[in-house]
């Protein structure tokens, strides 16, 4: 009973703070309203006995929002992030898309013939989830991760203003790179 109240209470917190993201007028409040929403979801996942997944959700999302605070000052020109600003735009399109999505999902809830449960939950649901996600597809996962890292590195290299010729000279013979921002290990 207590667990039911806590679970639904956390759900309410998650939805309301998710809505607050669009209601508040400050980038910091929006960012951390989203973080609060994710923390509530992570705590809900603890109630589903997926302890590892729940705690990792909290960890990753809080870190991600903190890093977002860095980017929002780095990349938002004229620093509107530091001033009060509206969190919404294209209101009519957004409202139409929201209503349409809600109708489709609600129709799905009502129309789909939900299966009845077969068997019972395994003793360790996290292991079961991991095997269901990864088990037969481990090769795909193992290939995708280096490809994703390579994509990120390639994207940064292509986007970077300075190339290795700026850093190491035209013949790449300069012993220490010429960087505007010095590093911490004497380079």
């Amino acid at each position: 009973m207590l667990a039911d109240i806590a679970f639904w209470g956390l759900g309410l917190v998650a939805v309301l703070s998710g809505a607050a993201v669009f209601y508040v007028d400050s980038m910091a409040r929006a960012t951390y309203a989203l973080a609060l929403s994710f923390v509530a979801v992570g705590l809900q996942v603890l109630f589903l006995q997926q302890n590892y997944v729940g705690v990792v959700t909290i960890l990753m999302m809080v870190m991600e929002m903190a890093v977002m605070a860095v980017y929002m000052v780095m990349f938002m020109g004229m620093n509107p992030a530091l001033m009060p600003m509206s969190m919404v735009h294209s209101n009519r399109t957004a409202a139409a898309a929201a209503v349409l999505t809600f109708l489709v999902l609600a129709a799905g809830v009502l129309l789909v013939d939900w299966p009845t449960r077969r068997g019972s939950p395994p003793p360790d649901v996290t292991v079961a989830l991991g095997e269901a996600l990864m088990g037969p597809k481990m090769l795909v996962m193992a290939v995708i991760s280096p490809v994703m890292v390579a994509t990120i590195v390639a994207g940064v290299v292509l986007a970077a203003h300075r190339t290795r010729y700026d850093r190491f000279g035209d013949d790449l013979r300069r012993p220490t790179p010429d960087d505007p921002q010095p590093g911490g290990v004497g380079r």
């Binding site: 667990a3 006995q49 590892y52 809080v62 870190m63």
Partner: protein, 326 residues
């Protein structure tokens, strides 16, 4: 609802620690408070000594009490268009985070929250510090305190991954993320003996998430006090208490992770946990006064090119030993 939702928890019936009644959380917070006082008194005594003995700095060992009394009587400073909600959450959150950290640390045989992924829980709480310190810097609507907040995040990008991988080493060796099991797995040989690199990086991480010692530039006097530039009165007192509490919680967590938990001769196991915690805490308070500051703009490379590879090699060695033993 077909299935009733069960309370989250628990490491299973064969857990080496006993979960006590929730009311004992007050006792845990009291112990944390006592550790905060120990750390603050020691810090006061050390700063009096370094500034030339009695008379040099006001108070010495009694400084924290005088400082607390002063701050409690001080009028709260207000700034124009401060985001008070986020400011207060940031300042008070450090103390709450430290309390949530010690919830998974067993005191000998007893624990408050025997979570099966306790190590991850601790890690998630120390990431919360990122958000809270930045929010404290943001809330005041002051340029200097915001600069302090970003300095902390710059340090965070450098120290957090080495800290995470330092916590991985004991978990691999114990084959569990449960703090009680990690402590129990050190029967005979403490993890600190054969994972010294992970231990040192962990201690550096503790200094970092308590915003102290080499990681104090976020509070630097060159930016008028950084994050705490506009903090005054009780707000400042709670923020400072939170920093000491995080240091104490980090010291307490080192005991089951690296120092054998409650293992030791003569004394009962809960007493050994306290003795070891106070020892690590004193070491941290002393050491963080002796180390030079890491510059926020260059620490990232130190973290990723020195600390991270070092601790990854440590993890690899631990993993090889773990595979070889099983």
């Amino acid at each position: 609802m077909v299935d009733p939702i069960a309370m989250p928890n628990v490491a299973g019936s064969d857990s080496p620690v006993v979960t006590v009644a929730p009311g004992w959380a007050f006792a845990a917070v009291t112990v944390l408070g006592a550790l905060v006082v120990v750390a603050a008194v020691l810090d006061g005594a050390l700063s009096a000594r370094s500034s030339g003995g009695p008379g040099g700095a006001p108070g010495g060992a009694a400084r924290p009490f005088g400082e607390a009394a002063r701050l409690m009587r001080q009028r709260r400073r207000t700034t124009v268009q401060a985001d008070s909600l986020l400011w207060r959450i940031g300042g008070a959150g450090l103390l709450v985070t430290a309390a949530l950290m010690v919830a998974v640390v067993p005191l000998g045989r007893w624990t408050i929250f025997d979570l099966d992924v306790g190590v991850m829980w601790f890690n998630a709480m120390d990431v919360m510090v990122w958000a809270l310190v930045w929010l404290t810097g943001w809330g005041a609507n002051s340029a200097h305190s915001l600069v302090g907040g970003y300095r902390f995040l710059a340090h965070g990008l450098g120290y957090e991954l080495p800290l995470m991988f330092a916590l991985v080493a004991p978990a691999i060796a114990a084959e569990s993320l449960n703090v009680g099991r990690v402590a129990a797995a050190q029967d005979g040989l403490w993890f600190v003996v054969w994972m010294p690199v992970a231990f040192l990086v962990y201690l550096l991480g503790v200094a970092a998430f308590s915003v102290g010692g080499p990681f104090a530039p976020a509070l630097g006097s060159d930016v008028a006090g950084g994050v705490r530039a506009e903090l005054s009165g009780v707000d400042r007192l709670v923020f400072e208490t939170g920093r000491y509490a995080l240091l104490a919680a980090g010291a307490a967590f080192a005991v089951p992770m690296f120092l054998g938990g409650g293992a030791g001769p003569l004394l009962p196991d809960w007493a050994w946990v306290l003795v070891k915690t106070v020892t690590v805490l004193s070491l941290l308070v002393w050491l963080r006064r002796r180390l030079p500051a890491f510059r926020p703009d260059t620490f990232m490379e130190v973290g990723w090119l020195v600390l991270l590879p070092a601790v990854l090699v440590q993890d690899l060695l631990v993993a090889v030993v773990a595979v070889w033993r099983s």
